[in-house]
């Protein structure tokens, strides 16, 4: 939801801190998840992730979440799906050139990342091209497996 999405950027610091804790907790569950089978867990976990992140960020389930590097503003809401910063067409009022009624996702990201410690540096990281095969899959499970050193 648009209003909630803007709220999330305003509360980027808190959400980022919460996520850091959440990710650590998830990582501890790795042995259990491995026993249950990641592929079997994919549909229910993806459904939860879709609901929670959909509500907070208008998440599009790209499957390779970068919210921590974008000040909690989801770049997949950009009509050009930019992953590396604002295009040259941001309006003077900070709104999107394609959808004038919407605040620019990247203008928001710059604001949000200023609220997170190390946010500016994270924003400067070049993000690689999106792997379109991961669309609809859970980022959380992917991160769990990556942290455990297993192929995601």
């Amino acid at each position: 939801m648009y209003a909630v999405r803007l709220w999330s950027v305003r509360h980027a610091r808190g959400l980022n801190t919460f996520y850091r804790g959440f990710e650590t907790a998830l990582a501890m569950l790795h042995p259990l998840f491995k026993r249950l089978g990641y592929e079997r867990l994919e549909p229910p976990v993806a459904a939860v992730e879709r609901t929670v992140k959909g509500f907070l960020f208008d998440c599009k389930m790209c499957g390779q979440c970068v919210l921590s590097s974008t000040g909690m503003s989801c770049p997949m809401n950009c009509p050009k799906q930019l992953r590396n910063g604002p295009c040259g067409g941001v309006r003077d009022n900070g709104h999107c050139e394609v959808r004038p009624e919407m605040k620019c996702v990247w203008h928001q990201a710059v604001t949000g990342s200023a609220r997170i410690a190390g946010g500016r540096e994270a924003l400067s990281q070049v993000q690689p091209a999106v792997d379109r095969r991961l669309q609809g899959r859970s980022s959380w499970l992917r991160v769990m497996r990556e942290r455990a050193g297993e192929p995601a």
Binding site: K80, G85, V90, V98, S124
Partner: protein, 340 residues
């Protein structure tokens, strides 16, 4: 300027140490000359003569011609085709690639093909949204963004492979460029975004239209603070405004374009507004030349291309240098290279 190691004028040059392309634009910039590039508006036509005529206007005044790729999301002859026609005559091209219409498979193929045709410079753009153009019903692709496009082109060139990892037998020797808008919001992050483009592979940038030199200087100061001078050649976008009304329309309708009130007022007060617009453009170029870190100008004289030679001439930035063009050195070269 004639390069002594030019085998046949108009043909690719030997690649010097530290250079990545056999192109004249990279040579000019690395030699510390003030470079001039200009944008060619591709025709709504299948007639090659229209392309040749549009290029000929710039003969002797520009170091490279930008072939736009569906600019403003409007349909025109493709940048690949314009490059194919003009490289045959020896012109130096900057091939623009927009991420709007093609996915990574098509784009990588185009980069290989362009380099094979003699294109030495590639400008990596995200592209305008489809809503801006004449086909708003179209599917916007945006598989890559300008940043991942830059790193893709660099991967092809420096790692001799596709993104998939598959090896190339010969890599595209290209000079990589990007766009930059020093005047867009969020303004305080614009130089940082440029830094990111340089990290992704940009060796030169061409900016959005500049009508506000003090604002550009603020941007350039930040660029210097980030340690980017010397890592990227910055060509500033300029163009003549036809009238105060045009200026007013442009700044209202083109998002990200900044034209100060003083400019609009000056045009409105002039007897001959189009002439005043050209005078203003000449003055801007002269001021820009003095700004630290500015390596050249990029002329975007949309529908006023014929005014480019006079503007460059009066600005004096070429300092008597005559960039190569077909027929410049009749005793040295065949004009048109026959396809055999």
């Amino acid at each position: 300027m004639i390069f002594e190691d030019e085998p046949v004028p108009g043909y690719p040059l030997p690649i010097l140490p530290g250079h990545t392309s056999p192109g004249r634009l990279e040579r000019i910039l690395r030699a510390g000359q003030f470079a001039v590039t200009a944008e060619l508006a591709p025709p709504d036509s299948a007639d090659p003569e229209e392309v040749f005529q549009r290029a000929k206007i710039f003969d002797g005044y520009v170091d490279a011609i930008n072939a736009t790729d569906g600019s403003g999301a409007n349909c025109h002859m493709s940048s690949v085709a314009v490059c194919a026609l003009l490289t045959r005559l020896g012109y130096a091209l900057v091939m623009q690639i927009s991420c709007r219409d093609k996915n990574r498979i098509a784009i990588q193929g185009d980069i290989l093909g362009a380099a094979a045709m003699g294109v030495c410079n590639i400008l990596c753009l995200t592209g305008d949204g489809v809503q801006a153009g004449d086909h708003p019903q179209a599917l916007p692709v945006f598989d890559l963004d300008c940043m991942s496009l830059l790193s893709t082109a660099r991967t092809l060139r420096d790692e001799h492979r596709f993104l998939s990892g598959r090896k190339l037998s010969y890599s595209p020797r290209v000079f990589l460029g990007a766009a930059s808008n020093p005047f867009g919001k969020p303004r305080e992050w614009r130089a940082d975004r440029l830094a990111k483009k340089v990290a992704a592979g940009a060796q030169f940038v061409q900016t959005q239209y500049c009508y506000d030199v003090p604002m550009l200087k603020t941007f350039m100061q930040r660029v210097e603070d980030l340690g980017l001078l010397g890592k990227v050649f910055i060509l500033i976008g300029v163009g003549p405004l036809r009238s105060a009304k045009t200026a007013e329309w442009m700044r209202t309708h083109v998002p990200g374009l900044h034209i100060p009130d003083a400019i609009v007022k000056r045009l409105a007060g002039a007897q001959d507004q189009a002439r005043e617009g050209r005078n203003l453009c000449v003055e801007l170029i002269q001021q820009l030349r003095e700004v630290k870190g500015v390596a050249g100008v990029h002329l975007m004289a949309y529908r006023q291309e014929e005014s480019v030679p006079d503007i460059i001439d009066r600005s004096g930035v070429l300092q008597g240098r005559i960039p190569w063009h077909p027929g410049r050195d009749p005793q040295r070269s065949p004009q048109r290279v026959a396809a055999s």
